[in-house]
Protein backbone atom coordinates (compact mmCIF):
# COMPACT_ATOMS: atom_id res chain seq x y z
CA UNK A 1 0.00 0.00 0.00
CA UNK A 2 1.29 3.46 -0.90
CA UNK A 3 1.01 6.22 1.68
CA UNK A 4 -0.46 8.56 -0.92
CA UNK A 5 -3.27 6.08 -1.59
CA UNK A 6 -4.24 6.50 2.02
CA UNK A 7 -4.13 10.29 1.80
CA UNK A 8 -7.50 11.76 0.77
CA UNK A 9 -9.26 8.41 1.37
CA UNK A 10 -12.70 8.95 3.02
CA UNK A 11 -13.02 8.04 6.68
CA UNK A 12 -16.23 6.63 8.23
CA UNK A 13 -17.15 5.46 11.71
CA UNK A 14 -18.42 1.98 12.60
CA UNK A 15 -21.94 2.97 11.47
CA UNK A 16 -20.72 4.26 8.12
CA UNK A 17 -21.13 7.92 9.05
CA UNK A 18 -18.54 10.12 7.25
CA UNK A 19 -15.83 11.74 9.36
CA UNK A 20 -13.99 13.52 6.56
CA UNK A 21 -10.92 12.45 4.68
CA UNK A 22 -7.41 11.38 5.61
CA UNK A 23 -5.20 14.43 5.24
CA UNK A 24 -2.02 13.31 6.89
CA UNK A 25 -0.44 10.28 8.46
CA UNK A 26 1.20 10.63 11.85
CA UNK A 27 4.27 8.42 11.94
CA UNK A 28 6.48 7.38 14.84
CA UNK A 29 9.82 5.63 15.03
CA UNK A 30 9.43 1.95 15.70
CA UNK A 31 11.09 0.43 18.73
CA UNK A 32 14.23 -1.47 17.82
CA UNK A 33 12.93 -4.95 18.68
CA UNK A 34 10.59 -4.88 15.70
CA UNK A 35 13.40 -5.95 13.39
CA UNK A 36 16.57 -4.39 12.08
CA UNK A 37 14.86 -1.41 10.52
CA UNK A 38 14.81 1.91 12.30
CA UNK A 39 11.70 2.55 10.24
CA UNK A 40 8.42 4.10 11.16
CA UNK A 41 4.99 2.84 11.98
CA UNK A 42 1.80 4.76 11.39
CA UNK A 43 0.73 6.09 14.78
CA UNK A 44 -2.48 7.69 13.62
CA UNK A 45 -4.34 9.71 11.06
CA UNK A 46 -5.17 13.39 10.70
CA UNK A 47 -8.78 13.52 9.59
CA UNK A 48 -11.20 16.28 8.66
CA UNK A 49 -10.66 19.95 7.99
CA UNK A 50 -9.68 21.29 4.60
CA UNK A 51 -7.06 19.83 2.32
CA UNK A 52 -5.15 23.10 2.06
CA UNK A 53 -5.20 23.67 5.80
CA UNK A 54 -3.26 20.46 6.21
CA UNK A 55 -1.01 20.98 3.20
CA UNK A 56 -0.04 24.46 4.38
CA UNK A 57 0.68 23.29 7.90
CA UNK A 58 -1.98 25.27 9.70
CA UNK A 59 -3.87 22.20 10.92
CA UNK A 60 -0.95 21.26 13.15
CA UNK A 61 -0.09 24.90 13.82
CA UNK A 62 3.34 24.85 12.25
CA UNK A 63 3.00 28.53 11.57
CA UNK A 64 1.47 31.42 13.45
CA UNK A 65 1.13 33.68 10.49
CA UNK A 66 0.83 35.60 8.39
CA UNK A 67 -2.32 36.92 9.93
CA UNK A 68 -4.41 36.71 6.78
CA UNK A 69 -3.67 33.05 6.07
CA UNK A 70 -4.22 32.18 9.73
CA UNK A 71 -7.65 33.82 9.64
CA UNK A 72 -8.63 32.11 6.42
CA UNK A 73 -7.66 28.70 7.74
CA UNK A 74 -8.66 29.09 11.38
CA UNK A 75 -12.07 27.39 11.26
CA UNK A 76 -11.02 24.47 9.09
CA UNK A 77 -8.00 23.93 11.31
CA UNK A 78 -10.21 23.50 14.38
CA UNK A 79 -12.18 20.78 12.62
CA UNK A 80 -9.08 18.60 12.13
CA UNK A 81 -9.19 15.46 14.32
CA UNK A 82 -6.74 12.81 15.34
CA UNK A 83 -7.46 9.10 14.97
CA UNK A 84 -5.01 6.82 16.82
CA UNK A 85 -4.02 3.80 14.75
CA UNK A 86 -5.48 1.42 17.36
CA UNK A 87 -8.94 2.71 16.53
CA UNK A 88 -8.70 1.94 12.84
CA UNK A 89 -10.77 -1.12 11.95
CA UNK A 90 -9.97 -1.21 8.23
CA UNK A 91 -7.42 0.80 6.23
CA UNK A 92 -9.09 0.43 2.86
CA UNK A 93 -9.33 -0.10 0.00
CA UNK A 94 -12.39 2.15 -0.42
CA UNK A 95 -12.78 3.79 2.97
CA UNK A 96 -10.93 3.89 6.25
CA UNK A 97 -13.25 2.51 8.93
CA UNK A 98 -12.76 3.85 12.44
CA UNK A 99 -14.14 2.79 15.82
CA UNK A 100 -15.34 5.88 17.70
CA UNK A 101 -17.64 4.32 20.29
CA UNK A 102 -19.91 7.31 19.80
CA UNK A 103 -17.37 9.70 21.34
CA UNK A 104 -15.81 12.71 19.65
CA UNK A 105 -12.35 12.17 18.23
CA UNK A 106 -9.66 14.30 19.87
CA UNK A 107 -8.69 17.52 18.05
CA UNK A 108 -5.46 17.16 16.13
CA UNK A 109 -3.95 20.17 17.88
CA UNK A 110 -4.21 18.45 21.28
CA UNK A 111 -1.92 15.63 20.28
CA UNK A 112 0.60 17.51 18.17
CA UNK A 113 3.86 18.75 19.59
CA UNK A 114 3.74 22.55 19.74
Amino acid sequence: MRATELLSRPVVDEHGRPLGRVHDLRIARRPEQHGPARGWAVAGLAVGGGRLVHAWGFAERRAAGPWLLRKITARAGRVARYVPAERVLAWGPEVVRVRTGGAELPPLLEVVRP
Binding site: T4, E5, L7, S8, R9, R51, A55
Partner: protein, 164 residues
Protein backbone atom coordinates in the same frame (compact mmCIF):
# COMPACT_ATOMS: atom_id res chain seq x y z
CA UNK B 1 -2.21 14.73 -3.52
CA UNK B 2 -5.25 15.82 -5.38
CA UNK B 3 -5.71 13.24 -8.03
CA UNK B 4 -5.60 9.90 -6.31
CA UNK B 5 -9.36 9.40 -6.39
CA UNK B 6 -10.53 11.04 -9.51
CA UNK B 7 -12.00 7.97 -11.15
CA UNK B 8 -13.79 7.75 -14.47
CA UNK B 9 -14.75 11.42 -14.77
CA UNK B 10 -11.13 12.47 -15.20
CA UNK B 11 -10.87 11.81 -18.92
CA UNK B 12 -14.08 13.64 -19.73
CA UNK B 13 -13.08 16.61 -17.60
CA UNK B 14 -9.72 16.84 -19.30
CA UNK B 15 -11.32 16.89 -22.71
CA UNK B 16 -13.78 19.57 -21.63
CA UNK B 17 -11.08 21.74 -20.08
CA UNK B 18 -8.80 21.37 -23.09
CA UNK B 19 -11.64 22.26 -25.45
CA UNK B 20 -12.54 25.34 -23.42
CA UNK B 21 -8.91 26.52 -23.31
CA UNK B 22 -8.60 25.96 -27.05
CA UNK B 23 -11.78 27.96 -27.71
CA UNK B 24 -10.59 30.88 -25.57
CA UNK B 25 -7.19 30.89 -27.28
CA UNK B 26 -8.77 30.90 -30.73
CA UNK B 27 -11.19 33.68 -29.77
CA UNK B 28 -8.29 35.75 -28.43
CA UNK B 29 -6.24 35.22 -31.56
CA UNK B 30 -9.20 36.26 -33.66
CA UNK B 31 -9.72 39.34 -31.48
CA UNK B 32 -6.06 40.26 -31.74
CA UNK B 33 -5.74 39.80 -35.47
CA UNK B 34 -9.15 40.54 -36.93
CA UNK B 35 -8.99 43.22 -39.63
CA UNK B 36 -10.90 46.48 -39.00
CA UNK B 37 -14.44 46.10 -40.36
CA UNK B 38 -16.09 49.47 -39.80
CA UNK B 39 -15.03 52.78 -41.31
CA UNK B 40 -14.34 54.13 -37.82
CA UNK B 41 -12.14 51.17 -36.88
CA UNK B 42 -10.33 51.49 -40.20
CA UNK B 43 -9.68 55.19 -39.60
CA UNK B 44 -8.45 54.39 -36.09
CA UNK B 45 -6.03 51.82 -37.51
CA UNK B 46 -4.99 54.43 -40.07
CA UNK B 47 -4.24 56.92 -37.30
CA UNK B 48 -2.31 54.25 -35.44
CA UNK B 49 -0.32 53.38 -38.57
CA UNK B 50 0.52 56.99 -39.34
CA UNK B 51 1.50 57.51 -35.69
CA UNK B 52 4.00 54.66 -35.97
CA UNK B 53 5.33 56.03 -39.27
CA UNK B 54 5.91 59.37 -37.57
CA UNK B 55 7.69 57.63 -34.70
CA UNK B 56 9.97 55.79 -37.13
CA UNK B 57 10.67 58.98 -39.08
CA UNK B 58 11.61 60.87 -35.93
CA UNK B 59 13.74 58.01 -34.62
CA UNK B 60 15.72 58.04 -37.87
CA UNK B 61 16.09 61.80 -37.60
CA UNK B 62 17.47 61.49 -34.04
CA UNK B 63 20.05 58.97 -35.19
CA UNK B 64 21.12 61.21 -38.06
CA UNK B 65 21.54 64.09 -35.61
CA UNK B 66 23.46 61.88 -33.21
CA UNK B 67 25.85 60.65 -35.85
CA UNK B 68 26.30 64.15 -37.32
CA UNK B 69 27.26 65.57 -33.93
CA UNK B 70 29.64 62.68 -33.31
CA UNK B 71 27.47 61.23 -30.52
CA UNK B 72 26.80 57.89 -32.15
CA UNK B 73 29.01 55.43 -33.94
CA UNK B 74 28.50 54.66 -37.60
CA UNK B 75 27.89 51.00 -36.79
CA UNK B 76 25.08 51.73 -34.37
CA UNK B 77 23.52 54.37 -36.63
CA UNK B 78 23.49 52.17 -39.70
CA UNK B 79 21.87 49.35 -37.72
CA UNK B 80 19.27 51.75 -36.29
CA UNK B 81 18.48 53.31 -39.69
CA UNK B 82 17.90 49.90 -41.19
CA UNK B 83 15.60 49.01 -38.29
CA UNK B 84 13.61 52.21 -38.82
CA UNK B 85 13.17 51.44 -42.49
CA UNK B 86 12.20 47.81 -41.84
CA UNK B 87 9.67 48.92 -39.23
CA UNK B 88 8.18 51.52 -41.55
CA UNK B 89 7.75 49.12 -44.44
CA UNK B 90 6.25 46.47 -42.12
CA UNK B 91 3.87 49.05 -40.63
CA UNK B 92 2.79 50.26 -44.07
CA UNK B 93 2.41 46.74 -45.46
CA UNK B 94 0.24 45.66 -42.54
CA UNK B 95 -2.19 48.50 -43.14
CA UNK B 96 -2.16 48.04 -46.91
CA UNK B 97 -3.10 44.40 -46.39
CA UNK B 98 -6.52 45.27 -44.97
CA UNK B 99 -9.48 45.76 -47.28
CA UNK B 100 -10.96 49.23 -46.76
CA UNK B 101 -14.62 49.21 -45.66
CA UNK B 102 -17.06 51.06 -47.92
CA UNK B 103 -16.33 54.79 -48.04
CA UNK B 104 -12.78 54.42 -46.72
CA UNK B 105 -10.88 54.45 -50.01
CA UNK B 106 -9.58 57.96 -49.38
CA UNK B 107 -8.17 56.94 -46.02
CA UNK B 108 -6.41 54.03 -47.63
CA UNK B 109 -4.99 56.23 -50.39
CA UNK B 110 -3.65 58.79 -47.91
CA UNK B 111 -2.11 56.30 -45.53
CA UNK B 112 -0.52 54.05 -48.12
CA UNK B 113 0.92 57.06 -49.94
CA UNK B 114 2.47 58.26 -46.70
CA UNK B 115 3.74 54.76 -46.00
CA UNK B 116 5.45 54.68 -49.40
CA UNK B 117 6.98 58.09 -48.87
CA UNK B 118 8.34 57.30 -45.41
CA UNK B 119 9.77 53.98 -46.58
CA UNK B 120 11.39 55.64 -49.58
CA UNK B 121 12.98 58.41 -47.50
CA UNK B 122 14.28 55.99 -44.86
CA UNK B 123 15.66 53.73 -47.60
CA UNK B 124 17.61 56.68 -48.99
CA UNK B 125 19.13 57.21 -45.54
CA UNK B 126 20.03 53.56 -45.19
CA UNK B 127 21.67 53.49 -48.61
CA UNK B 128 23.65 56.65 -47.92
CA UNK B 129 24.81 55.23 -44.59
CA UNK B 130 25.82 51.89 -46.09
CA UNK B 131 27.80 53.67 -48.82
CA UNK B 132 29.66 55.52 -46.13
CA UNK B 133 28.36 58.92 -47.26
CA UNK B 134 28.00 60.09 -43.67
CA UNK B 135 28.61 63.73 -44.54
CA UNK B 136 25.62 63.71 -46.90
CA UNK B 137 23.31 62.17 -44.34
CA UNK B 138 21.95 65.41 -42.81
CA UNK B 139 21.11 66.59 -46.33
CA UNK B 140 19.27 63.38 -47.16
CA UNK B 141 17.42 63.66 -43.84
CA UNK B 142 16.36 67.28 -44.39
CA UNK B 143 12.77 66.48 -45.50
CA UNK B 144 12.14 64.32 -42.44
CA UNK B 145 10.91 66.96 -39.93
CA UNK B 146 8.43 68.26 -42.50
CA UNK B 147 7.27 64.75 -43.23
CA UNK B 148 6.84 64.06 -39.52
CA UNK B 149 4.72 67.21 -39.18
CA UNK B 150 2.47 66.09 -42.02
CA UNK B 151 2.18 62.61 -40.52
CA UNK B 152 1.16 64.16 -37.21
CA UNK B 153 -1.52 66.25 -38.86
CA UNK B 154 -2.93 63.25 -40.74
CA UNK B 155 -2.92 61.16 -37.58
CA UNK B 156 -4.94 63.85 -35.80
CA UNK B 157 -7.42 64.06 -38.68
CA UNK B 158 -7.92 60.31 -38.77
CA UNK B 159 -8.34 60.14 -35.01
CA UNK B 160 -11.02 62.82 -35.25
CA UNK B 161 -12.68 60.94 -38.13
CA UNK B 162 -12.70 57.67 -36.17
CA UNK B 163 -14.57 59.36 -33.31
CA UNK B 164 -17.28 61.06 -35.41
Amino acid sequence: MTTTHMGAGTGVRWVAVSAAVFAVVMASLWFGHAPPRSAAAYARQGAETVGYLRSQTRTARLWVDAVASGSATHQAASVALREAEDDASATAARFAGWDPPAGSDAVRATVTALGDEVTRRLAELRIAANRGRWADLPGVARPLPDLAERLGAVADELTAASRS
